[in-house]
């Protein structure tokens, strides 16, 4: 369902991605690991349509459609979801209204009816409880005054409510304690199924103990230098990136 071919991208003329080839079949969860500055977050942003990254080559097809030609909101409507590494604060915008506006925008794009406030709240409260989040999270302004862990959980809540077909988790595990990590992993695992794929970007193997990936890819200097099964994450943890990069050269 996600086919990345020779993808190159730059920010302010500085090349970051230098020819990425990656296929994530429907229903599979793939992990992308790599050292700082290897291009992991850039890949996440390019896939979700952030405008300050310039695609300089290659193609990305999602369900047979040209993802790179779509606006960010069209990608979301097609089922792409990015869990941000640094979730953005929206002062003055209530979390519940934000989520309902987003969900109804997606429903409209799929030709489904919109949910009213009562229907939405019922559904949202069920999800917050499942993610062991306090109810008042829905009443607060989006991410304003949230702790680092709460922000990440709020991303997972959004994912649970918006039900994407492809979730990209950009270091969702960073800054989480063990309990929160478990909650985040449970949130992802709950969505797993034949209609759901995920690209999990992480530094550490820790999250992959809870969300066991189908494939692991190692990114270095804007290229995928190795791919393998879940055991590759353990190998990385044991050897470190430097050795693997050296081997690959």
């Amino acid at each position: 369902m996600l086919e990345i071919r020779g993808l190159s991208a730059a920010i302010e003329d500085k090349p970051i991605l230098q020819g990425i080839d990656l296929t994530v079949p429907q229903g599979e969860v793939h992990a992308i690991m790599g050292p700082n500055g290897s291009g992991k977050s850039t890949l996440a942003y390019v896939l979700s349509g952030r405008e300050d990254y310039v695609v300089t080559g290659g193609s990305v097809m999602f369900d047979g459609r040209d993802l790179l030609a779509m606006a960010p909101e069209e990608r979301a409507a097609a089922g792409v979801f990015l869990a941000f590494q640094y979730p953005v604060e929206l002062p003055g915008v209530g979390n519940a209204n934000f989520l309902r506006t987003a969900l109804n925008a997606l429903r409209r794009s799929r030709g489904e009816g919109e949910l009213d406030a009562v229907q939405f709240l019922k559904m949202a409260r069920a999800e917050t409880r499942r993610l062991a989040m306090p109810d008042d999270m829905l009443r607060r302004n989006v991410n304003v005054g949230f702790s680092g862990g709460e922000k990440k959980r709020n991303e997972v809540l959004q994912m649970a409510i918006l039900r994407p077909r492809l979730a990209i988790l950009d270091e969702t595990d960073s800054g989480l304690d063990i309990d929160a990590l478990k909650i985040v992993a449970d949130g992802v695992n709950a969505l797993r199924g034949p209609e759901f794929s995920a690209l999990i970007i992480t530094h550490y193997q820790r999250l992959l103990d809870h969300i066991v990936p189908d494939r692991v890819h190692v990114l270095s200097d804007g290229r995928i230098i190795r791919s393998g099964g879940p055991e590759l994450a353990h190998e990385l943890e044991a050897k470190g990136y430097a050795d693997m990069v050296a081997e690959a050269v």
């Binding site: 606006a71 960010p72 909101e73 506006t101 925008a105």
Partner: protein
């Protein structure tokens, strides 16, 4: 029907020559105003001269426009009527500047008379120094004189102006609140086509009285709205105003407030939401003459398209006005690279024991916030609307009358006219 007149200053002056025998009030003041208007001209339209007070706003388009200067006929089935607020409150309605009793519902607790019947020019307006006030004083034919008697709480009153194409009118309004009285005045300006609405308003707030003045300018996108208001606030009196400008091709909201009694309060707040080629100028002068008075002013602009906003605010603190507490802030959100704001907050302080602050901020929408919303499937236009709605909404939520706040939210939802951007749906956060 009269033929179209000559345009510009000459057009207004010849209109005066035609009408002068029939105009109400003191002819001496009319003639003096005509002389002042002839000397001053329309700011920006007279070659070579550029007054400081009109540095950022040119009225050349007003000078170039053709107006049919007689009161237009107005059909009872006009498309304007459904745009009147539907809530049940006393209202005084003018059409092209002429009072219309059949559209009005007079307030029980406010004494109303027409300027056309009892023309008194008042003591605050300065035709000698304000060209538009001179134009108004020269040509004013009608207007509302409102008086609230001592100690009366007169509740809510609507003052409505409806306008039709090619009209030019110069209403003269006066509002007198006697000691300890209260009134909430909701002023609405609506219309269709190209017209000039040039009102002058005098407000007198006596001791312990309080006027809440809410002004919604939603004129036609081709119209000119040039209003000048003078307020004088006595001891412990309050003039609490909020002006929302969404309409008109060129708008000027000019307010002169004088705090002449101790512990008086003046709030001159506003918001301007503009798009397309709109130009709106918010100019205020607050004079602290008596001690221990408070003035507050926050004016917000949200500018899209090629819109241009102007804010000129001056606080003057006289030597005797010790313990003055003055605050002034202009905040602007630019939604497009072609939008422009000119902002000039000024303080002039002659007393030594005062607390005054002022400032201005100009910002754009945060691209990170915008991307975050869009990545969740929310369209660009809706995302922009969500991001700028909260601050503007909070402002009018604070309005003292729930009904006017409700009316405004409805205007917001349906979108002002002349917007180049879409509006957010009712689920937008408050």
């Amino acid at each position: 029907m009269t033929a179209l007149m000559q345009t510009g200053v000459g057009g207004f002056l010849s209109r005066f020559e035609q009408l002068r025998e029939h105009l109400p009030g003191d002819p001496g003041q009319r003639i003096a105003a005509a002389d002042a208007f002839r000397r001053a001209g329309l700011p920006g339209a007279t070659s070579g001269r550029r007054e400081e007070a009109w540095k950022y706003t040119s009225l050349r388009p007003v000078a170039d426009a053709e107006f049919q200067q007689s009161l237009a006929s107005f059909a009872g089935d006009s498309a304007l009527l459904p745009r009147l607020p539907r809530f049940d409150a006393p209202r005084i309605v003018f059409v092209d500047g002429e009072y219309r009793p059949e559209l009005s519902a007079l307030p029980p607790a406010v004494n109303f008379s027409r300027f056309a019947d009892h023309a008194v020019f008042g003591t605050l307006a300065r035709p000698d120094s304000e060209p538009l006030v001179a134009l108004n004083t020269m040509l004013a034919e009608d207007g509302a004189t409102l008086t609230v008697a001592e100690g009366i709480d007169a509740g809510l009153l609507l003052l409505v102006s409806l306008a039709t194409d090619v009209a030019a009118f110069h209403p003269r309004h006066a509002i007198h609140l006697a000691a300890g009285s209260r009134l909430t005045l909701l002023e609405l300006s609506l219309g269709d086509g190209t017209y000039l609405h040039n009102p002058v308003v005098e407000v007198h707030v006596a001791e312990d009285a309080a006027l809440t003045h809410v002004r919604l300018q939603n004129e036609s996108p081709a119209a000119f709205h040039l209003s000048t208001l003078y307020a004088e606030i006595a001891e412990r009196g309050t003039y609490d105003s909020f002006a929302l400008n969404v309409g008109a091709r060129i708008a000027r909201t000019e307010v002169h407030a004088r705090l002449v009694g101790a512990k008086g309060i003046a709030h001159l707040n506003g918001a301007q939401l503009l798009g397309g080629m709109q130009h709106a100028d918010f100019t205020t002068v607050v004079k602290h003459i008596a001690p221990s008075c408070t003035s507050r002013q926050t004016v917000k602009n949200v500018l899209a398209g090629h819109a241009k906003g102007v804010f000129q605010g001056r606080i003057e603190v006289a030597r005797a006005a010790q313990k003055t507490d003055g605050y002034q802030m202009n905040q602007t959100l630019l939604l497009s690279p072609d939008a422009e704001i000119d902002t000039k907050p000024e303080l002039e302080i002659f007393a030594d024991d005062v607390k005054c602050s002022h400032g201005a901020t100009v910002g754009e929408l945060d691209p990170d916030q915008l991307f975050y919303l869009r990545s969740r499937g929310i369209s660009d236009a809706e995302a922009r609307s969500i991001l700028y709605a909260p601050s503007s909404q909070r402002r009018w939520m604070r309005s003292r009358t729930k009904r006017s706040a409700k009316y405004w939210r409805a205007r917001w939802r349906t979108g002002g006219r002349g917007r180049s951007h879409e509006r957010h749906d009712p689920s937008c956060p408050a």
